[in-house]
C-alpha cells in the first residue's frame, strides 16, 4: 500500500468536482444551515451576515466569529465553507484550523491586502476565489485556488454582473481555443495570466477547475440562466434568506439548477414562491463601492 497524501491538487479540486450541478447557500445560523441542507444544498457558506446586510452595514467586513462557524459545522453533514478577507492569510489559517471544508477568499469582505492575494498553495484546505475574466481566473489558480466563481455583484439580487462575468469567461476561452500556439505567450501577457495555465486551458478546452456562478442570483430562473451560460453550479448569497419564503425558494433554486434546460418544469418550479429579495440597480452603486472591483 502506498503513502497517503493530503492536500494534493487532485484532492482539493476533487471536492469542487463533487459539488458540480449543485447549489451552495449562504447561512448565518444553524437553523438556516438545516433549511439549506433539507432543501438539497450541496454545501453551505457560514457567515456572520449575508452580503446584502454587509453592504447595508458598511464599515469593515471580516471573517465570521469561529463560534458561528463551529455551530453550523455541528448541525449539517454537507461541506461547510467560510470566507476570509483577500490577502488575510491568518484568517485563512484560523479557518483551516477550525476544519472548514473550503475557504472563500472573498471580495464580499473588506480586503486586508490591496496588492496581494493569499498563497493558497501553502494550505491543505482548498480555496475558491471570484473572477470576472479568464486572466483573473488563471491568476487565482496560479496562486493555488482549486475552484472559481464569478464575482457578479454580491448582495444586489441583480444577476446582470454574474451574466457579464460568465459571458466574458466563456468568450475568452472560445477565443483562446482558436488561438494558434505561437500566439499563446502574447495571449498570456495580455490576459495577465500564467503562460502554462493558458496552454492547459487550450489543451483541456475548458478551465482546469470548476467554475460556479455567484453574485446576484435571486430566482430559480436566474440559477437556470447561469447554468445555461455554462457555469458548473450556483452560489446563492442573500437570495434565499432575504426572500419572503426561504424554504420554498431554496428548494426551488436547487430544482431549477438540476432541470435548467426544461422550461415547462422551470415554470412549475417557479410558481408561488413569495416575494424575492429586494433588488439593487448596479448604476446606483458607486464604482468604489462595487465589491467586484476588489481583487488584483
Amino acid at each position: 500500500m502506498g503513502m497517503a497524501e493530503q492536500g494534493t491538487f487532485c484532492v482539493k479540486a476533487g471536492l469542487a468536482e463533487m459539488q458540480k450541478g449543485g447549489v451552495i447557500m449562504d447561512v448565518t445560523t444553524p437553523e438556516q444551515a438545516k433549511i439549506a441542507e433539507e432543501a438539497g444544498a450541496v454545501a453551505v457558506m457560514a457567515l456572520e451576515r449575508v452580503p446584502a446586510d454587509i453592504r447595508a452595514a458598511g464599515g469593515v467586513a471580516r471573517m465570521a466569529d469561529p463560534e458561528i462557524i463551529l455551530k453550523i459545522m455541528d448541525v449539517v453533514t454537507i461541506p461547510v465553507m467560510a470566507k476570509a478577507r483577500i490577502g488575510h492569510f491568518v484568517e485563512a489559517k484560523i479557518l483551516e484550523a477550525l476544519g472548514v471544508d473550503y475557504i472563500d477568499e472573498s471580495e464580499v469582505l473588506t480586503p486586508a491586502d490591496d496588492e496581494f492575494h493569499i498563497n493558497k498553495r501553502q494550505f491543505t484546505v482548498p480555496f475558491v476565489c471570484g473572477a470576472r475574466n479568464l486572466g483573473e481566473a488563471l491568476r487565482r489558480i496560479g496562486e493555488g485556488a482549486s475552484m472559481l466563481r464569478t464575482k457578479g455583484e454580491p448582495g444586489t439580487g441583480n444577476v446582470v454582473e454574474a451574466v457579464r462575468h460568465m459571458r466574458m469567461m466563456m468568450s475568452e476561452i472560445r477565443k483562446l481555443l482558436n488561438t494558434p500556439d505561437e500566439e499563446l505567450m502574447s495571449f498570456a501577457k495580455q490576459a495577465g495570466a500564467p503562460y502554462e495555465l493558458v496552454c492547459q486551458v487550450k489543451r483541456l478546452g475548458r478551465l482546469p477547475v470548476v467554475n460556479f456562478a455567484a453574485g446576484g442570483i435571486a430566482t430559480p430562473a436566474d440559477a437556470a440562466l447561469m447554468m445555461q451560460l455554462g457555469c458548473d453550479g450556483i452560489f446563492v448569497g442573500s437570495g434565499i434568506f432575504k426572500a419572503k419564503e426561504p424554504r420554498a425558494r431554496a428548494k426551488a433554486i436547487v430544482d431549477a439548477t438540476l432541470h435548467h434546460d426544461d422550461p415547462s418544469l422551470l415554470a412549475e418550479i417557479s410558481k408561488g414562491l413569495g416575494e424575492a429579495m429586494p433588488g439593487l440597480e448596479i448604476s446606483t452603486i458607486r464604482r468604489e463601492e462595487r465589491m467586484q472591483e476588489r481583487g488584483w
Binding site: 500500500m1 502506498g2 471536492l15 441542507e37 476544519g99
Partner: protein
C-alpha cells in the same frame, strides 16, 4: 452496451469520459423515462443527501430499483456507495438500500483529511490502483453475499454484491480506467 450516468449532481462528466475510454455508449440520465433502455448505471460521487432528495423529488427511485431488480449492473462511487447501502450510521437520509453494507459517512474526517493513496485491488490486476478519497465513507460491516474488493488500513473501501459495485474512492478523477472496465465487464454478465 448503453451505460447511463446519473446526472443529478457531482462528478458526472468524469464518469462519462472514463466509460467512453472503455469504448461504451454513454448517456447522462436525469428523467424517469431515460432508464429503461440502459444496460448499466453509474451513480457518481457528489453529496448523497442532495442526490437522495432529488431522486425522491423527481420520481427516479422506482426506475433505478427496477434496473437493479432486472440484474443490470450498477456502480456507486462515494455518494453512490452511500445511496446503495442498506444502512448509514447516525443518519436518516434517503437510501436505495439494495446492498447489504453498513456505511459510516465522512469516515476519515473533514476535507483537510481527504487524501490519495495507491491501494492493491486484486480483481484489477497486480498494479496498485490510485485511490482518491474525498470526505469519503467506509464500509463498516457487510453481509455474507458481499465480496470485498479493496481495503485501506484494514477498512473496506470497495466491494461487490452480485450486480452491484461500490467504491469509497473516485476512479473517475484519475486516468486509470480499470475500475470502469471491470464494471463494464459486470454489465456484460461477468
Amino acid at each position: 452496451m448503453k451505460i447511463g450516468v446519473l446526472a443529478i449532481q457531482g462528478a458526472v462528466r468524469e464518469h462519462v469520459t472514463a466509460l467512453q475510454k472503455c469504448g461504451e455508449d454513454v448517456v447522462c440520465v436525469k428523467k424517469a423515462e431515460q432508464f429503461a433502455e440502459l444496460d448499466g448505471l453509474v451513480i457518481p460521487g457528489g453529496e448523497s443527501t442532495t442526490i437522495g432528495k432529488l431522486l425522491v423529488r423527481f420520481g427516479l427511485v422506482e426506475p433505478i430499483l427496477r434496473l437493479i431488480a432486472q440484474g443490470k449492473a450498477v456502480y456507486g462511487t462515494c455518494a453512490g456507495l452511500i445511496l446503495l447501502a442498506t444502512r448509514v450510521e447516525g443518519s436518516e437520509q434517503f437510501l436505495l438500500g439494495k446492498m447489504d453494507i453498513a456505511v459510516a459517512r465522512n469516515a476519515f474526517g473533514r476535507q483537510r483529511e481527504s487524501f490519495e493513496q495507491e491501494l492493491p485491488v486484486p480483481v484489477l490486476g497486480k498494479e496498485p490502483f490510485p485511490a482518491v478519497f474525498i470526505r469519503a465513507p467506509l464500509i463498516k460491516a457487510y453481509g455474507s453475499k458481499v465480496q470485498v474488493l479493496a481495503r485501506c488500513n484494514a477498512e473496506v473501501v470497495a466491494a461487490r454484491q452480485d450486480n452491484l459495485l461500490v467504491s469509497a474512492f473516485h476512479p473517475e478523477l484519475t486516468d486509470d480506467v480499470r475500475m470502469h472496465s471491470y464494471f463494464v465487464g459486470m454489465a456484460k454478465g461477468n
